[in-house]
Structures are given as C-alpha cells and as structure tokens.
C-alpha cells in the first residue's frame, strides 16, 4: 500500500492507494453523504447518494478507489439535484410516525432529509400494504424500510449468517413520466427500491446466530430489538462507554441507561449500542446486558463472616469473569497471606502461553483479530469458533468475503455456520486428540523446511509417500472423418453424393497413471476428497496468513506440545498467530496472577462455589458487583487493556473492601489500574487516563496495548510426535456453550434466560430417536448426570455438547480437563 495524495474540495489529503474515496474523506473529516455503505463491508450501491465528481467524472465515493493526484468535488449542481431527488424518493410514502418510531431522531433518513433540505415532494407512487413482522429478537417494519440493504450486507460480509435477502415488494411500476423528468441516479435508485423488501431466508422467523447486528446498522426504525420497542426514546439514555464482559473479544459497547419507570427511579440498562462501522457485536453482547446483581445493600454481618472466612481460608478459587484490578487484588492477597489462587482455565492458558514462549521467545502471540480481518488465508484450530469468540468468527468471515480469502477450519464438530461463510473454506472434522496433526499439517504445508528443525522436517516426511493414481484427463484430439454429403448439382439440378474429408476436434477422456504425493495427514484429519487440489486453488494469490488457535489446545493432554508447535508455526511459516482466551479476562488473569493447580482445605469461591462464596450472581454468602456495576479494565484477545465503566449502581461490598479490611489500602478498586504488573506488559497508566472510543478514520482509541516482553529461550525447538492411535473415534461429548451464552452471567439477562442441557444436532437427534426435552443420562469416566436434550440447529454431526453457562449443570465435573470426553448417553 502506497501513501498517495488526493484533493477533495480543494483540500489536499493523504490516503492509501486503493482506499475508497468515501473512507478517505471520512478519515479527514470531509462530509460526503452516504446511507448504504458500511465500513469493512462491500459497497452495496443502493442509495447512490455518495455521488461525487472525480477528475470530471461522476463516481460513487463508496466504491471508487482513490488514485494519486485525483481531484474530487463533493458537490456540483447536478450532484445536488440528484441528492435532493434521492431524498425525496426516500420520503415517498414513508410513514409520518417519527413521534413513536424507536429510532427517535437517531434516524439517517431524517438527518439527510434535513441536510439536503427536502421541503416539498415531487414524486408519488401507490403504497403497498406492508404489515410489521416479528422475527423473534428482532422486529421488522417494512413500511419504514428504505431498502439500503445494510442489514443484508452486514449479515453476509461481516457476520457470516447470510440470513437475510430481498423479496419482491409487489409494488406498481413507477410512472413512466418520472423516468424522463427525474435525475438519472435517483430514478435508478427508486427503481431498485420499488422492487424489493427484506425477508429472512428461513421464512417467517430468522434462522441465524441472533447477533442483532442488522438492527444496529438499520439507518431507520425498520429493524429494532423487539424487547426495546416503544420503551424509551434514544435521547433519554445516558450512554456509558464500556467493554463487553462476556467473552475475550472485549468489544467496545455503550450501555444505554435510564430510570426504570416513573415510580422506580433506579437506573436500568435499556439496550446496548455499538460503533457498528468498526466493531460488530454478537447476540450475547447485544442482549445479555442486564446481568447485574440487583438490590444489594451492605450486609455487615455477611461481611464479617467473609473476613473470618478469609482468615480461615488457604485457597481462593475464581473465574476469569473479573477485571484486571480484581485479579491484582487477589494476587496481592496471595503475596500477603499466601493463598493459593485456583483458576483452572486461566492456568491452562497461562501454561500454554509459557510453553509457547519457550520457543517463540515472546511473552505473547503476535497476531490479533485486526490481522485476521486483513488476512486472505485464515486457519482456525481447536476452537468452536462461533461460540468461543464470535468476533473471531466475524473476523474470519470478513476476511473470507472481503479479501477474496480462503480458510481452513479444524474442529471435530461440523459447523454449518462456518460452512456458510464462503465457498472457499474447508472444514476438517477430525477426531478429538488430533489437533497436533492439524498443527503438523500447517508446518508441513507452509513451513520453511530449510530452516525448520531437522527432526520436524524428517518427521513430516514420514507422512508423505508417493502413490500412483489413475486420473481421467480430457484431451483434445483431432479426428479426420470422411463425410458423405448430398450436394445439389447446380448444373443438372440433381442431388449428388460427395464424400468430403472433415477434421474435427473432439474432447476425449483418457485415463492416465500418475505419481502423486500422498499426504497421510490429510487422511488422519478426515480431509475431504481432493483436498490437495482445493488447497492449490485456495492458495493462489494469497499474501497474508492468519492462524487462530483455541481453548481445545490449552486443555489438550499434550497442550505443551501443541503450544510448541504453534510457536514453530509462528516462527517458520508466514502465519500470524492469535490465541483465543477462553473467557472475558482469561488473558488478564493469566498475566497478573500466579496460579495454583490444586485447592487446599478451605476455599473461598469468587463467582464459583467454595466453602465461602463471593458471588455477583446473587447466590453466594457475600454479594459482589457484576461486571456492569464495576469500573476497571479487561485484557482482550487483541492483547489490549480496555476500560469499562459502571453502568448501574451497586450498594454492597466489593472485593476492594475486603482487601482494605485485610490490611491493604486503596480507596477505589481502579487505584490498582496503574499498579498492574509492568513485568507482564501492563503500563503504569491511571484508569481515568484510558480512552475508549473510535475515531472517524476507524482507529480504535481504547486503553492500551500490552507490551510484548522478550523471554529467554533455550534454543530447544524439539517437539513430540503424536500418536494417531489416541484419536478418540468413539462417542464423545464436548464442553461448549450454545450461541448467545458464555457464562451464568449471560443466562441471567432477561432476553437470554434459558436452561442448559445436552445440545444435539438435528441429524443426531433423528438418528437416536430423541426428541427435544427428553431426559438422558450422560456418563463419562468421571461421573454421570441427568440432563434434558436440546436441539441445536447450528451444529451438525454426532458430537453432542454440554454447556457451562447453567449453574445447575456442573458439566465440568464430567470432563478431565480436555474439552472432549468419551461418553455413553442413555435415554431415561
């Protein structure tokens, strides 16, 4: 990418070659109206209002790329006439119900109508009857829809569900006289608008992963959250900038709060908003906002009991749904009183990171989701991507659809959502325990074998053999035939037979024996037939490679070896590696706390059950604030320390109160922000100094990036071989959460409340003869439990999974660390 200079309205600005004019203008604070364009997605060209004149030619700013020296004018008399006509057309038959519309003034139609100055209407057409539709979490009012198709665009290019498309509107044709009299682009835009409406592909309801991004991007009030409908006006909300607390993506959000009602003046979160041009939310982030610990007051008796418990305890067990500051308080308590800090999933991640560092020499992985967005070849190993970290899935989908990318997805569970991302993605539904084979395959396919450790190269060579295969080829063959033709003799008038020689080229199929390289790793990973050819096709013109590895590897029995292989991939291939931390702040906890593996005799549980339980879920011995009632920071997947603010008040005791009572001294928890360990890459910055916003150019100005530290390495780059016999080909069960759930906190939100069970694909359900709601006994080597069967339409294949979000189902007890376990399931 070269930096170039272009001129917009006489102002010289610098931008990248190939950047869209619209983005270049926005980054430099120059206003060009645009409705249908979404940053990071492909231009739709539905609204045509972004017309500009570039070097004397009218172009659409959203899809015309900037070239060196380009001279752009954003307004000419003709462009102004077009824009005025476009906005008039948008206003034709638009219901005048702005007073009750949920967009309540945050309306791009209203804004542009006023900006362009529409004060009279020239156009008209007979209206059609378009009743409002309830799509589940989303409500669609087609009468308000202006057919910018942003919902369709974001669903396809960013989210990857492609759950929406256009259907016929059933409208009259536009009066012929308008065609001659009205501006050209306005007519074309009207013509398109007049033909279609939005509808879910699945029929009446949406069949998707319910991210709700379609309603976020809607410029008008056509797509709104069903729950939010008519409860409030946008301007009444106070917006609290925050970081989503549910997964490691650490998306920037704003909690929109307002008093609960006239009678109850306590603040309440009404909705979550996001900067949809730069960050996309999943459904848990968007709908799982009211997980606060309600109606808590200072219970002095419980507090004294808590202090006693802390004096008695030798272990603090906790989950990673805490802030960095709380993690630091726990670590300080450990330093002072020698508690054991137990958090198994963070410990697994920490161990994985240190094993990785032993080869890579870096404390942290090199990649982040921004790099995945920009990549054109994306590989995911060891993660149920769409539920482990939806943003990682969006990044992969975005890379595949916007960068003409290709991808590989290695996971035992077949995921139709991943399948639907692109034609150019291949799923490897390998057996559990074969993750190492996947990592070896990457080394084999992409590794720089001249520099890789010789032992690895030798080991990889053992998987290759040449075999002779018979291939059918079509060959052009010239055939000369003698054809007898009847020709009319013009002199005699009689038909005569003449033989003539004709040469034809015909395609002929021949079988040929060829020697080909046979890669045994393909078969070990259950690669689809003909994958070698597919891969060659995928790799054409690919420049930037991204690998995401997930929690399956951290808990893998051979996780150390997996970590070393990941480090080798980073070192000897051009892959940029990103690791997906399990929970919201697993990375932060791993960086801040010295963790222990085993609990002692008396355990204090924080958001998990202990002998004395501190809980933000409202069911412990002492209440704690939940993450939307706290200020502090999270460390997300992008190795970024993101600040979050308290959206709701909290009246009880916090961890800092306990720490103070135990002899530490900080007035507020956020005093610890500046004390986060610099040895782990944190910076000595005060909480109040941390920004949390995006700029017009899309630059993320949030918190700060962790410094990656150099780690001494021994130079030993040996890795262990893997044992293909360990592959778990028997019936297994997986530990994962369904779409929209991450933890008990998401399940507390009123829109996402649900009960867990054994999640089974539709086909497996049919095969086993179960129906939804049946009780089954799930038995592994560690124990058994009785749960209900739930159908999950977003997985395929035979592997069922158990969730962790439902506190009534202690799924972890059935697993031996690794996310897969051999299982027998009996209907009761």
């Amino acid at each position: 990418m070269n930096e170039i200079t272009i001129t917009i309205d006489g102002r010289a600005i610098k931008t990248q070659e190939g950047e869209y004019i619209l983005n270049a203008a926005r980054a430099n604070g120059i206003f060009i109206p645009a409705i249908c364009y979404l940053t990071r997605c492909s231009p739709t060209l539905a609204c045509r209002i972004c017309l500009v004149e570039a070097d004397g030619k009218q172009v659409y700013a959203c899809n015309a790329k900037a070239k060196e020296g380009m001279d752009i004018t954003t307004t000419t008399p003709n462009i102004l006439a077009e824009r005025r006509a476009i906005m008039e057309v948008y206003d034709v038959n638009h219901p005048l119900e702005c007073g009750v519309c949920d967009q309540s003034g945050e309306c791009e139609l209203q804004n542009y109508t006023l900006e362009v100055g529409v004060d009279s209407q020239t156009y008209s057409i007979k209206d059609t009857h378009k009743p409002a539709q309830d799509w589940g979490l989303i409500h669609y009012d087609p009468a308000l829809c202006i057919m910018c198709e942003r919902c369709i665009t974001v669903c396809k290019d960013m989210i990857g569900d492609a759950a929406l498309s256009t259907v016929a509107r059933g409208s009259d044709a536009i009066e012929a006289t308008f065609k001659e009299t009205m501006p050209k682009d306005a007519y074309a835009m009207w013509n398109k608008l007049n033909k279609s409406l939005i509808a879910p592909n699945a029929g009446d309801k949406l069949d998707c992963t319910n991210c709700g991004e379609c309603s976020a991007v809607c410029p008008v009030g056509a797509l709104v959250s069903s729950d939010y409908q008519y409860t409030s006006n946008a301007w009444e909300h106070k917006q609290i900038p925050a970081t989503c607390a549910h997964c490691s993506a650490g998306c920037q959000i704003s909690y929109d709060i307002k008093h609960t009602s006239i009678v109850d003046t306590e603040p309440k979160i009404y909705r979550v908003k996001n900067e949809w041009n730069y960050v996309s939310l999943c459904g848990a982030g968007r709908y799982g906002y009211d997980f606060e610990n309600r109606n808590v007051s200072k219970d002095a008796a419980a507090f004294i009991k808590a202090l006693d418990a802390f004096k008695k305890a030798d272990t603090i067990k906790f989950t990673s749904t805490i802030t960095n500051e709380e993690a630091l308080i726990l670590q300080r308590l450990k330093d002072k009183f020698g508690y054991r800090l137990v958090n198994n999933e963070a410990l697994a991640f920490k161990t994985f990171l240190s094993d990785y560092s032993a080869i890579s020499g870096k404390s942290l992985y090199s990649g982040d989701l921004k790099a995945v967005h920009a990549a054109d070849f994306v590989v995911s190993i060891g993660s149920a991507l769409k539920t482990d970290n939806p943003n990682a899935r969006f990044a992969m989908n975005n890379a595949l659809s916007m960068n003409k990318g290709a991808g590989l997805y290695f996971h035992p569970i077949n995921d139709p959502v991943v399948e639907g991302m692109s034609k150019n993605i291949t799923q490897f539904n390998h057996a559990p325990m074969m993750e190492e084979a996947a990592l070896y395959l990457l080394l084999d396919l992409f590794g720089d074998k001249d520099h890789m450790p010789a032992s690895v190269v030798e080991y990889l060579a053992t998987f290759h053999s040449s075999k002779t295969v018979t291939v059918e080829e079509s060959v052009d063959e010239k055939v000369t035939e003698t054809v007898v033709k009847k020709v009319l003799n013009e002199e005699t008038g009689v038909e005569e037979e003449v033989s003539e020689e004709v040469t034809k080229t015909i395609k002929k199929k021949i079988s040929k024996e060829v020697e080909v390289d046979d890669n045994a790793l393909f078969a070990l990973l259950n690669a689809p037939a003909g994958f070698a050819d597919t891969l060659t096709k995928y790799l054409a013109k690919k420049e930037s490679f991204a690998l995401m590895v997930g929690p399956d590897l951290y808990t893998h029995p051979n996780s150390a070896n997996c970590a070393r292989l990941v480090a080798l991939i980073e070192k000897y291939t051009s892959f940029n590696v990103t690791m997906i931390p399990n929970l919201s702040n697993t990375l932060g906890v791993a960086m801040i706390c010295d963790l222990d593996a085993e609990c002692g005799n008396y355990t204090i549980g924080y958001n998990t059950v202990g002998n004395f339980t501190l809980s933000a879920l409202g069911e412990g011995d002492l209440d704690m604030p939940s993450l939307n009632q706290q200020e502090g920071t999270f460390t997300g997947i992008d190795k970024q320390v993101n600040p979050t603010n308290a959206a709701l008040p909290y009246g009880g005791y916090v961890l800092n109160d306990i720490a103070n009572a135990l002899g530490m001294n900080a007035k507020y928890t956020v005093e610890y922000t500046a004390q986060l360990p610099r040895s782990a890459g944190f910076k000595a910055l005060d909480f109040d100094a941390l920004p949390n916003h995006y700029t017009n150019a899309g630059e993320e100005v949030r918190g700060y990036m962790l410094d990656i530290q150099d780690v001494a390495t021994s130079g030993d780059e040996s890795v262990k071989t893997f044992d293909a016999a360990k592959a778990m080909n028997e019936k297994v069960v997986y530990l994962a959460n369904p779409v929209l759930q991450f933890s008990p906190f998401t399940a507390r939100a009123h829109q996402l409340q649900s009960k867990g069970g054994l999640y089974v694909s539709a086909s497996a359900m049919e095969a086993s003869g179960w129906s939804e709601g049946d009780r089954v006994n799930v038995k592994t080597s560690r124990g058994e439990m009785n749960v209900a069967v739930i159908k999950d339409g977003k997985i395929e294949g035979d592997i069922a999974y158990l969730p962790t979000f439902d506190t009534e189902i202690n799924s972890e007890a059935l697993f031996d660390g690794y996310r897969f376990a051999s299982v027998s399931i009996q209907k009761v």
Binding site: G99, V100, S104, D119, T122, S124, S261, I262
Partner: protein
C-alpha cells in the same frame, strides 16, 4: 359586575382611555419640603378616604371578587395546570408517547412510561408532571404534535410539599366528561395557528 375599560387604543391622546397623570414637581428647598409635609398632614384627605369606605360599606356595594366562591375568568393563553385531552370521536388518548414534552421541558419535570400494547401501538402507561418544579412555560403544550397536552385553567396548585405530582389520571379528560362534551379546546399555547393550512405544501398522491 366585572368592570372592563376599553384599552384597545394604546396611544396616549384625548380620545383614548390612556392619559398622562398630572404630577406636581417635587419640592427642592428645605422650606418647600417642610410646607408640603404640613399641608399633607393637616389637609384632611385621610378622612375623604375613610368616608368613601364607610359609605360603600353601608350601601353594601362590594367591588372585590369573592374568591374562592367566585373566580375571575382567565385568558385563553394563561398557562395553568396541564390537561391531557382525548380525541373527540374515538375517545382515545391523543398522546402518542413521542416524548417531545419530556425532552423540551426546561425544568425537567415531565416523565412518561411507555410500552408496546396488545395492538402493537405505543401506549403511555403513566405520565407525570412535578408541578413543584414546573415553571409553566408552556413549551410542552407548544411542542406537542397531537394537541394532547394543553394548559388548562386550574391555577390552584398549592401543596404541602415542594414536590407535587400530577399523574395521568389527574390530567386526562374522563370519558364521561368527554361524552358529555365537557372537554374544552384551548386556543392558547400549542393550538393550531389560524391559517396554517395555507402555509402547508401539499404532497402529491398517486391515487
């Protein structure tokens, strides 16, 4: 019994009801001031006034308004305690819950609760005005797109507390009063300006 003078011509001249009051020059010297005091003290003007009161008392010709038995009529533009009106024909509440009154209120004393009702319409479930904070500026009535909130004529809003709320039930025209035709339209704040029709640009219709 109510006395009204015609003050239509506000120019001061002989034909209008306005006139300049004849005021003597103020005394400047000490001696003149002393003379004025003596003159005013012993002129007996005091008894003129006392006599007028005495005479009228005996005649029983009372000029004061007998509040609270009797109230002065109030000009239509007076801004007293709010009313919420209903549609004449259907009896539905005029308020659509747009929240503009809440937004424009400069003393932030209006609140409303809304929800989606069974007919998928926006329903205002509760509406309150804190009259203790209300400065009766009339912006709410002026901004209301539905002529739903208006200023009525009830100006008695004394309260034992500073915070003094009226809620929807207090302000909304009861249905029986509406049926009896007792809902009043107020030509005051927020009412349609006479001749508005002429200033509206018509939107073409394809029917």
């Amino acid at each position: 019994m109510h006395h009204e003078e015609v003050f239509t011509d506000r120019n001061v001249n002989e034909s209008s009801a306005y006139y300049y009051v004849d005021i003597e020059n103020y005394p400047t010297t000490g001696w003149d001031k002393f003379k004025q005091v003596v003159k005013r003290t012993f002129s007996g003007e005091l008894f003129v006034g006392l006599w007028v009161v005495m005479r009228e008392m005996i005649k029983f010709d009372i000029h004061t308004v007998q509040y609270p038995m009797e109230k002065l009529p109030i000009g239509p533009r007076y801004r007293a305690v709010h009313k919420l009106l209903r549609l004449w024909e259907s009896g539905y509440e005029r308020c659509i819950g747009c929240g503009l009154c809440e937004k424009i209120c400069i003393s932030d004393c209006i609140r409303m609760d809304t929800r989606i009702d069974e007919n998928s319409r926006k329903e205002v479930t509760e509406y309150s005005i804190n009259l203790g904070r209300c400065i009766f500026c009339g912006y709410c009535a002026e901004v209301c797109p539905e002529l739903a909130i208006v200023h009525g004529q009830r100006y008695e809003n004394a309260s034992e507390q500073r915070a003094h709320f009226v809620i929807k039930d207090d302000m909304l025209t009861p249905l029986d009063m509406l049926k009896a035709g007792q809902q009043a339209e107020y030509p005051g704040f927020g009412a349609i300006i006479p001749g508005s029709d002429e200033s509206v640009k018509k939107t073409p219709l394809a029917y």
